[in-house]
Subunit: 399 residues, 2 copies
């Protein structure tokens, strides 16, 4: 069976996300909208700033009246928050940053550049060009101007932008409701004693905390045993779930009961991806929910959830541009054997070089805890020290 | 007055943070520790995996017994979660990913590489080297091994690592308690009507949402008027606050009452930084609290909070390595005039080039909403298209 190229898998995921459409829109106080995706564009209604204002603490002048060495008296003081009177001819106005420029004034000289004479008049060291240190009205926003597009994620900067426009309510998509499943008789939750043959379940913590970071509503659907009947019952009990996200149990092994059940009773596709780590992945619909089944090795789970599930989830929450930022960085190691799958290596970004964690096995979670992100080695490629490869910081992938 | 180099300001900030020491340590359920800083190292107590196990779905063998073309009968089936019997000589074991290797077996062949004969015996296509597809015991962790250092921030990967060790409780630093102040008669909160000379307060949203992202406990201390008496009263009412973070009101203008008060009644320093935007900054202690006063222009606030306040805040919460990741990226523009201050430009990272937002004024918040991060132009430097400059993604700076 030919392996599916990563780009094709990504395309199919996003196509299906777009067919299903984003989660419903709700109105939220801007205060509570951190991390949400904006559902309708934010259009300015006002002129911002509403009036030309001073970019500096200094003196507002009619620029044509300024002659170096000839003092101008101070006819008024303008603080931010006040509307000043018009500037009297032959005078200047003491003015502070952000304060509206008096009518007639067309420039500001910063206080560091002037001297005061014995009578408190202002001596300018140089001629002042019109417009100097003046922020024109409407520089930030004008009525009807698009300030934030629908589909952007609302971080601190976007919410500050909304506040600057006086906006208190925002149209946003509701969070995706994700049920997290782990499967496997070998898995035990932390806090329980390990029986022979068992290990602790780390994927549950990985997926749940990551989904919370992404702004999803997370339901912990527990760790399923490798028993078809119990799996069916637990799935049937899930209500109002948009996505069932599982790790493990979706390969084609005889014990992969969850995968079997989904293939039999849902419309799911089993993909063998040209991706390392993370070859097997299941994707589709089951009883009105979407299903993404990630491979169970911890690093395979990490790679498939951040590279494949992340764009699907964000798109379902209404986000337009779901590609994480990545940067071409020089590597300090060689990989001499080209692979047939695109590989995401765990690397540290240290001293201006991408350094390889020595054990790249998909079962070694320590590699990810040590690393700063994933480095993309294209299928069929090798690398030499100094070569540039794309680096995806975890700060981009894990939120 | 000479401008203070950015590196010197950073050094002083971190020195003071280290003198004050990190916030107290508390024990938290791992479940609730997302975003917290680990206060004591996480040391493995077990061998993980506890036994050699299969990296594949396939067949476990004694490698020396495998002869291509000579079938081996299947003497047992080993699922993950089970402890198998020893492997009978002259046989192989059906085995699934993660299942413990039977005693005597020393390799696994993946199922894709074998054939079954009419009697269900396994035909191998090639000789199998010892160790093939076997994950050795202790590959992930060994008793006494350091798995997470004190001072790391707990993201999804770190919490998964803790879970893999069976850990349910973590020693973490308590969040920093930060009171956020805005000052300025010109500022109005969104939702209120604008009077002449007024603008909406965007810095409050910027700082509060950013602090929440960083894991701080945020108290909104409101927007102070430019009145010394009211400012003193409001500051006196703050209790159990580690940091007072303000924007505006800390320059040397006559209306900067907050700065005046802090200089008179606290131990605060006013810095003029070799930084653009963001020259003026106030830093020190006032009545048992730390104080960081950022400049009031929105982009100046953004730059100083992410470049200067962020490392101080994270260090106070116990984080060891507080420098954000940055990446050398090619720019697609020229800056021909070298400045005396280090400049952080708002740029987009598009099509493999850093693109400059056309209006770099410090009052223009749109520049930051458009941008993907900050680009560092060193003091005294120019740049040409193709030059590499350090890019700080917002994903690193805003969390």
């Amino acid at each position: 069976m030919a392996l599916m190229p990563l780009d094709q898998a990504l395309q199919r995921l996003l196509q299906q996300a777009d067919q299903l459409g984003p989660t419903p829109v709700e109105t939220l106080a801007a205060e509570a909208a951190l991390g949400r995706i904006l559902a309708s564009p934010l259009i300015a209604e006002q002129t911002l700033p509403p009036w030309p204002n001073s970019a500096m603490d200094g003196y507002a002048v009619r620029s044509a009246e300024v002659v170096p060495g000839q003092p101008l008296p101070v006819s008024q003081k303008v603080f931010a928050g006040q509307m000043p009177a018009a500037l009297q001819p032959g005078s200047c106005a003491r003015i502070f940053t952000g304060a509206p420029l008096p009518e007639g004034a067309d420039a500001v000289e910063m206080q560091e550049n002037v001297q005061l004479d014995a009578e408190g008049r202002v001596l300018f060291a140089q001629a002042i060009p019109a417009g100097r240190f003046v922020r024109p009205a409407g520089e930030e926003a004008q009525p009807g101007q698009l300030k934030l597009e629908a589909g952007v994620r609302l971080g601190p900067v976007e919410l500050a932008q909304a506040a600057s426009l006086g906006v208190t309510q925002l149209q946003v998509h509701r969070p995706l409701r994700v049920a997290v499943l782990s499967t496997g008789d070998e898995l035990v939750e932390p806090g329980q004693p390990l029986q022979p043959g068992q290990i602790y379940n780390s994927n549950r913590a990985l997926m749940i905390h990551w989904l919370r970071r992404m702004g999803c509503e997370v339901l912990d659907a527990g760790c399923l045993p490798d028993d078809p009947q119990q799996i069916r019952q637990q799935l049937a009990a899930l209500e109002d779930i948009d996505l069932l996200l599982s790790s493990g149990g979706v390969s084609v092994g005889e014990a992969d009961y969850l995968g079997q059940l989904l293939r039999e009773e849902g419309e799911v596709n089993f993909w063998r991806l040209a991706l390392k780590p993370g070859k097997p992945m299941t994707f589709g619909r089951y009883r009105g929910m979407s299903f993404i089944g990630l491979p169970g090795n911890p690093v395979s789970t990490l790679v498939t959830m951040t590279i494949l599930a992340r764009p699907w989830i964000l798109r379902r929450m209404g986000m337009r541009d779901v590609a994480p930022l990545c940067f071409p960085v020089p590597v300090d190691f060689a990989i001499s054997q080209a692979g047939s799958r695109r590989e995401f290596l765990r690397v540290g970004w240290r001293h201006g070089r991408a350094q390889l964690y020595d054990n790249q096995c998909s079962g070694i979670l320590s590699s990810a805890a040590w690393a700063d992100g994933l480095l993309e080695l294209p299928e069929g490629s090798t690398c030499q020290p100094g070569d540039l490869l794309n680096f995806y910081p975890f700060s981009e992938l894990l939120a």
